[in-house]
């Protein structure tokens, strides 16, 4: 058993970073995730040699990440929606240059300056690329404070395995709420820099340079093919999801992160009312568990997708289901959180009362 603590999601994330042997954190304060840089500024010097630097902007932060990641170091930044938008340029460069790093987006309501309340409205930006060019982040969606801890470790491992940026896509609620967490022990890492890292020329070897500029289109296409081959492998090997009450399910609720937590309660309420409801929770949003939905769809009367946005993952659920069952949607926007009761009401309207009250 690791150490048990009662922690806020944001602080748990920060503590996990220290324990995972993160070498450097560059960030810029933004609600609702400023606890991360505050916690690191306070705790990291006591427990580690981690570089913790408050950058001049999110633009600065993500490019510091690029530089430090290019030196083969384990690096992370965190922000919330408007700040993550500013980082998109950098993420595109990092993906193209194939540098590993971990980014957490503690999603708040948008668009624009929006609100500081929790939201899931950055799904598309996170899973479909976000910046310019054909690339993907690997996206993990924690639904508890415990997963904020666990996914830091998994996130770094995936980033380094695939030399690709990984995003933890949480929301303001997961960041702000406190739960019991079990922390993993401090990880001792091999400090030897990988051969692609710029650490100064190694005697007897060619120098190293890191770039995302491939001016000849033939070469740029080759780089794209390498990236795409990597994404196919990720799609094959790294899909993670959770299923609940699938065995006898006639209907499914689906959602990720906080949405899935609320759906679990809605499922409990629904089952008490006699509805045979199951639940699918994608844990990796990219790669998305298309097959899981596709295989269940013919046996299911309908799926209600629940999100804290206008229906973004909905597109992936529909793609996955491929017309084999009905997919309906319930969402709240702009920082509003759906209640379990609202979800069940929507479920009944769509599937029990035949959509008459919708």
């Amino acid at each position: 058993m690791g150490e048990i603590r009662l922690m806020k999601g944001n602080e748990a994330l920060a503590e996990a970073m220290i324990r995972a042997g993160c070498d450097a954190y560059f960030g810029y304060p933004i609600t609702p995730q400023s606890e991360v840089i505050e916690y690191l500024s306070r705790e990291a010097p006591k427990k580690s040699k981690m570089v913790v630097l408050q950058a001049e902007s999110e633009l600065g932060a993500i490019n510091m990440i690029y530089g430090a990641a290019g030196c083969g170091k384990r690096v992370m930044t965190t922000s919330s929606s408007p700040g993550i938008s500013l980082m998109q340029e950098g993420l595109s460069y990092i993906a193209s240059a194939q540098l590993p790093c971990l980014v957490a987006n503690i999603n708040r309501g948008g668009p624009g300056l929006g609100t500081i309340q929790p939201s899931q409205s950055d799904y598309m930006q996170a899973v479909k690329g976000g910046g310019h060019g054909d690339y993907h982040l690997i996206v993990l969606a924690p639904y508890s404070v415990q997963e904020m801890v666990d996914f830091v470790k998994i996130g770094f491992e995936l980033a380094e395995k695939y030399r690709n940026p990984v995003m933890i896509l949480a929301d303001g609620a997961i960041g702000q709420m406190m739960e019991k967490v079990e922390l993993f022990d401090f990880i001792e890492r091999n400090q030897e820099a990988p051969e692609w890292a710029t650490v100064g020329r190694r005697p007897g070897k060619d120098r190293v340079f890191i770039t995302s500029l491939f001016i000849q289109p033939e070469k740029m296409e080759e780089v794209n093919k390498i990236l795409q081959a990597k994404y196919r492998e990720v799609e094959k090997k790294e899909v993670r999801y959770q299923q609940l009450n699938i065995e006898d399910a006639e209907y499914l609720l689906t959602g990720y992160g906080l949405g899935a937590r609320i759906c679990m309660k809605a499922m409990e309420i629904g089952r008490e009312k006699g509805y045979k409801i199951g639940l699918i929770r994608p844990i990796t949003l990219y790669p998305f568990p298309y097959n899981v939905y596709n295989e269940l769809a013919p046996k299911i009367k309908g799926i209600l997708d629940v999100e804290m946005n206008a229906g973004q993952m909905l597109e992936d659920v529909k793609l996955a289901v491929d017309g084999k069952t009905t997919v309906k949607f319930y969402g709240r926007m702009g920082g509003m959180i759906p209640t379990p009761e609202e979800i069940i009401e929507s479920f009944e309207n769509h599937f029990i009362y035949g959509g008459k009250n919708v």
Partner: protein, 181 residues
């Protein structure tokens, strides 16, 4: 066992830390806990609240709309959360502060003169501890000693000199509740 409670009042009344102390104590006793705050510009002056859920098994939604216990430290909180008490469940409120008490017939209502008690101890800041004592006495979910011990672990060392006062307030709250039930 499952307890779904909400602590509510003005920012600065210590409602967030009440919920946190309860969650911490329950965790120490081996329970699953979830503490979910309202956050943002309401931090000072406005209304603040936090949901605290304690359970023997895994907790699903941290977002809930009805409660086993509502703890209200100001008038707006009574107005906002009295309707959200589950039928048969209870509301505890600071009867010194709140002029219009809860009225529902299908719930249990516990007026605790918390501010008055805190003033007796010459420190209005311990109002939250008085009410938490009353809550702990009523619900019996956590051992009072666990809550007091939790203070040593939650509070930074420089505040430990205030623990005896907080303990006194907590016990005063327990007494007030004992007289009611």
């Amino acid at each position: 066992m499952k307890e779904e409670a909400i602590f509510s009042g003005f920012g600065g009344q210590g409602v967030l830390s009440m919920g946190q102390m309860l969650a911490y104590a329950a965790m120490k006793e081996g329970k699953e806990v979830c503490w979910f705050p309202s956050y943002g510009p309401e931090m000072r002056g406005g209304t603040a609240n936090c949901i605290t859920i304690i359970s023997d098994s895994l907790i699903s939604s941290p977002i809930i709309s009805t409660f086993d216990t509502v703890i209200a430290l100001n008038q707006p909180s009574v107005e906002k959360f009295e309707p959200k008490v589950k039928p048969g469940a209870c509301i505890i409120y600071d009867s010194t502060n709140i002029i219009e008490p809860p009225k529902r017939k299908d719930i249990k209502i516990y007026p605790i003169a918390g501010s008055e008690a805190a003033l007796k101890l010459k420190n209005l800041k311990v109002l939250n501890m008085v009410i938490l004592g009353a809550y702990t006495q009523l619900k019996g979910i956590v051992n009072p000693e666990t809550v007091i011990n939790a203070l040593y672990e939650i509070l930074p060392e420089r505040h430990h000199r205030l623990i005896p006062l907080n303990k006194e307030a907590f016990e005063l709250g327990m007494d007030l509740m004992m007289k009611l039930v």
